[in-house]
Symmetry: C2
Subunit: 185 residues, 2 copies
């Protein structure tokens, strides 16, 4: 009987460990196909904020888009602890068209179809400052932006970012965290 | 040996079931204190969409607010399967002030401090059509809106909602689901 119990307990322990592992949070870090970023399933990721018609120009857009920013949950939880983005952070900006005056809406604008998706990834394997930009607007994976296509992005993010190379100044909940942790500049 | 194996398998099965239950998603449905709704910790809930300056009036707001809408993950996953909101759905609208022309932003608007939080809950225990409105803008719980304070909300939601009593027409990803499932009107 003792033997049976020991054997049962051993199998129970293995089963428990397998079950816990199976239920652990999925790895939400970046996945690549060669140098391309595989488009993440981000619909349940953490929403950081949205803008409407945000541009670097002083001329307002006549057809403004919303820019919804999401981050992978593991990076978000790490940021809450440290005020910094950890390795394997994936920030996504989802660009959506806007509309007005439909249904009960008489003024103001709401979101409609998605028109672009861009990724900003922190991963030591990317070289340089560890951050890479990816264009995910087409298909199930997106190429890394290189050369002249990204030089302006890198320059502006490096000079103007509130935290690391990211525009946390526009994401109110994490901006509060960064100010509390003293990591915002 | 056969007996040992059977006993081991039985204990394994119990262990597995307990472990899976222990790791199941936390209950993200509505919690009450009396008739008040306890303010949920919704920062990691599913983002459905945002509007800027949305009003029922034709006069545009001079100081428009963003309205971010979130739903509890269990209700979201159920909606993906059925195109309808299940019992224990909690929809929240987070109202945030907007700003412009700070840092690199030259035009358009981005989100700043939270100015209000409202809840729309489906729960058979609420009576009537099963939906209740709650004002969560103050403190850790919010009263249910009743009488004249809510009559206009109920009337407008009942008449104009795309699904059940909710304005799914302004939440592009779930609106697509509702149209596919034939539940949008």
């Amino acid at each position: 009987m003792k033997k049976i119990l020991l054997a049962a307990l051993a199998v129970y322990a293995v089963g428990l460990s397998l079950a816990v592992r199976a239920q652990a949070p999925a790895d939400d870090g970046p996945r690549y196909n060669g140098t391309a970023l595989v488009r993440p399933d981000y619909r349940e990721w953490v929403f950081l904020g949205s803008g409407l018609g945000m541009t670097y120009q002083t001329t307002p857009s006549q057809n403004p888009s919303f820019t919804n920013v999401f981050v992978n949950p593991s990076a978000y939880r790490s940021f809450l602890q440290t005020g910094r983005w950890p390795d394997k952070t994936v920030l996504l900006v989802e660009v959506r068209a806007s509309a007005s005056e439909r249904s009960i809406n008489q003024s103001g604008r709401y979101q409609t179809n998605q028109v672009a998706l861009e990724g900003h990834v922190k991963d030591g394997r990317l070289g340089g400052d560890g951050w890479g930009f990816f264009n995910l607007s087409q298909g199930s994976e997106g190429p890394r932006l290189t050369g002249n296509a990204v030089a302006g992005c890198v320059d502006c993010h490096t000079k103007n970012a509130a935290v690391d190379t990211t525009f946390v100044q526009f994401y109110p909940t994490v901006f509060d965290v960064a100010r509390q942790k003293g990591t915002a500049r």
